[in-house]
Amino acid sequence: MNKSIWQNGIKIGLIGGVSAVLLALIGMVEAFSQRDIISNVISMGHTLLLLVAVFMGYLAAKRTTRTEPLWILVNSLISGLIVGGLVALLVIVGSLINLRKVFIYAMPILYELLTFKQGTQIGIFLLLGAGALSGTLAGLFFLSPQIIRRVLIASLGSIVVAGVLQDLLRPTFSRWGPLAIINEWLFTSNGLTVYGAIALFILIAAIIYFWARKGGAVRTGLHRLPPAGQRALKVTSLLLLFFILFALPQILGLFLSEVLTIVGLYVLLGLGLNIVVGYAGLLDLGYVAFFAIGAYTMAVLTSPELGFFSLSFWGALPVAIFMGVISGVILGVPVLKMRGDYLAIATLGFGEIIRILVLSDFLRPWLGGAQGIGKIPKAHIGGIEFGTPQSIYYLILAGCFLVAFISVRLRDSRLGRAWMAVREDEDVAQALGVNLVATKLLAFATGAAFSALSGAIFASKLSSVYPHSFNVMISINVICLIIVGGMGSIPGVIVGSIALVGLPELLREFAEYRLLVYGAALVAMMLLKPEGLWPSEIRRRELHGEVSAGSEPESSASNESSRS
């Protein structure tokens, strides 16, 4: 009967082990090993394997059916051991058979990495040991009090994050005289220094520890401020935020500003789709169509290559948005009665129709065909040309503010409520006076307008448009980022965009495994935090079952006044 206690540990260990072996065989471990987290101590590749063992150890600890610490620790040790064991098995098999015929990444260098360059015999023991140790540590972590856990996650996490994002941090620090010193101290050309890592660990640990202890007091102190004081605080933090946003291109330099512009374009797209899918619940998988329409309208109206029109950027922009609105309505009318999966497929079709149309030879005289349209002029205000990534960033930032403002206003309004009612139960919504046709068309049109805005800016930024850029992956990217960020939530869209669009740009190693990471991220999000990284208030309550809300009628009275 003791066996049943180990069952979970064994099962979880096996899953972890198989995952680790898989990650090794597809080449992810090796690709990640190029980058060191802590220089010459541990690479990103080894960190990945370590994380698998630790995570499995934690899960095993969590799922242990007995509560005595000893059983929990043994369980997590077992799962870690098995993870290490399966990787060791890979090494053994690899030393006997040439796996390269099937798994092209099963190269000698992989085994070298896996055995820590100690050869097969010693490597096996190292792996088993490392696995067991990681598992046990995870078990200890599970048993530690809340405050220790938070401290550890924050400080270890910041080391990993700093190592992963070193290409972002190093150039940023080096641009600012005083901060450049941190660079020498914290980073080498590849990874953190040992002292840097330790210092970072201590710093973050101290901050989190003090925040955990005193943070509550600070927060209640803030709440006790008079309304004037609270307002002043809100205003100052907003001003600070604005200041940072405006200063960002100067802080981050050319390459990162470029990354920011791409993130910004996706934020625009995300906010638009947020209205269609997040508020109104209309699953639109062909969202790239409006992006294309906005871009091509801008191209056709401003490019001398086609020569039909020669409007300026600002002249063409309203037309592009208007074309977006019209196409939103054109898509909306035939799909009014469709729901769920049928709506998704139909909208997917619309996206493809637009892509094929702009690619076609038939429309080449007007839309440029497979060669696309080039020589699109940049935007001008007075004498300033929006040509560099930094200047385009400001253009996009303005667009984001506008779109975010409109989204917020719409959400807390009669129309926003109508959209949400349609999402929840459209028959009842109709029975309460909601005009389904108008409401749905407004959702499609508004979403399309935002998308077209993004497309128009995109066309100007790239100075050219090619049909191949407007494929279904863009639609899928946008859907993923609003799911991961938090559907229906405006900060969520921004977080999702940074996570799913910004990070891959920064982490070139990810590039080949982008889809795998997307898929894994989505699955992980659905399991751990289905409401998204920064969910809207409603969604968080919806998915984390507000049991307290049903049993504390006294507190709800104050909730009513604090909701904005």
């Binding site: 029975a431 809300a549 909701r563």
Partner: protein, 261 residues
């Protein structure tokens, strides 16, 4: 004065005749119950009144407006609102938001008013919020405005649904089994509440009910349906003694049962 008349209303689903040649007259300011065994066509009739179904044959008039062929959002603007047999609140919206959606037909703010933050829109929102609070108090849900509808206890959900229907400012309120699943005390409260609606707000009530004490206790007129046809109509006392009604509910030879209700 008849506020709602149904004239030879028939609703078919293929070969199944759910509502069969129904003539019905609801007097203004009355409480009128429709009863009958399950499957008798009561909810289908409600759906025809609210525009969710369109009857194949016949006419339904509300204060001399023809309802047949109108969409549900047009019908609610004429002054008819309803609740549902298995509560259909908007589960992931708060109680407050549910009621605000109920007010939708009486608010006017459009896209541009909202985006441009016109004063008319702001005032309307303020007024709507106040009215929604008032309605919450009216249905005894004061202070629960921020609870998600799906997290409310059953009795509160029923009352919220009525509150949402009242937000539409109806002259005729269709209640579909409002006391389903309630214990005797809650049922009595609901009965008092329904009468209060009629007495204070002059709302005509059309009620589908299975609990006989509710039907007998508060209705002025009772219509009995069976297999889509009207088999009896009259005051509660008359219905109680009607042999056809007894047979439909309880089978032959159960006349004694009805006297206990």
């Amino acid at each position: 004065m008849a506020i709602l008349t149904a004239d030879k209303t028939t609703k078919r689903f293929g070969g199944l005749v759910a509502v069969d040649d129904l003539d019905l007259e609801i007097q203004e300011n009355s409480i009128h119950s429709v009863i009958g065994p399950n499957g008798a066509g009561k909810t289908t009739f409600f759906n025809c009144v609210t525009g969710f179904y369109r009857p194949e044959v016949g006419e339904i008039r509300f204060n001399s407006h023809s309802l047949v062929g109108l969409l549900p959002d047009q019908i609610v603007r004429l002054g008819i609102a309803r609740t549902y047999q298995n509560i259909r609140l908007f589960p992931n919206l708060t109680a407050m938001e549910n009621i605000l959606v109920g007010l939708h037909s009486h608010l006017k703010s459009g896209f541009f008013g909202i985006v441009l933050e016109l004063p008319a829109t702001r005032n309307e929102e303020k007024m709507a919020t106040e009215e929604a609070r008032r309605l919450l108090r009216f249905v005894n849900l004061a202070g629960k405005g921020d609870f998600l509808a799906k997290n409310l206890p059953y009795g509160d959900q029923r009352r919220l649904e009525i509150g949402r229907a009242l937000a539409a400012r109806p002259k005729l309120l269709l209640l579909d089994e409002p006391t389903a699943g309630m214990n005797p005390r809650e049922t009595q409260e609901m009965m008092d509440f329904i009468q209060h609606l009629r007495d204070e707000l002059s709302i005509t009530i059309l009620l589908i009910e299975h609990q006989m004490r509710v039907v007998m206790g508060i209705s002025e007129t009772v219509t009995v349906l069976d297999y889509g046809k009207k088999i009896a109509e009259g005051t509660p006392v008359e219905i109680q003694k009607n042999p056809k009604v007894i047979e439909a509910y309880l089978g032959r030879g159960s006349a004694a049962e009805m006297h206990r209700a």
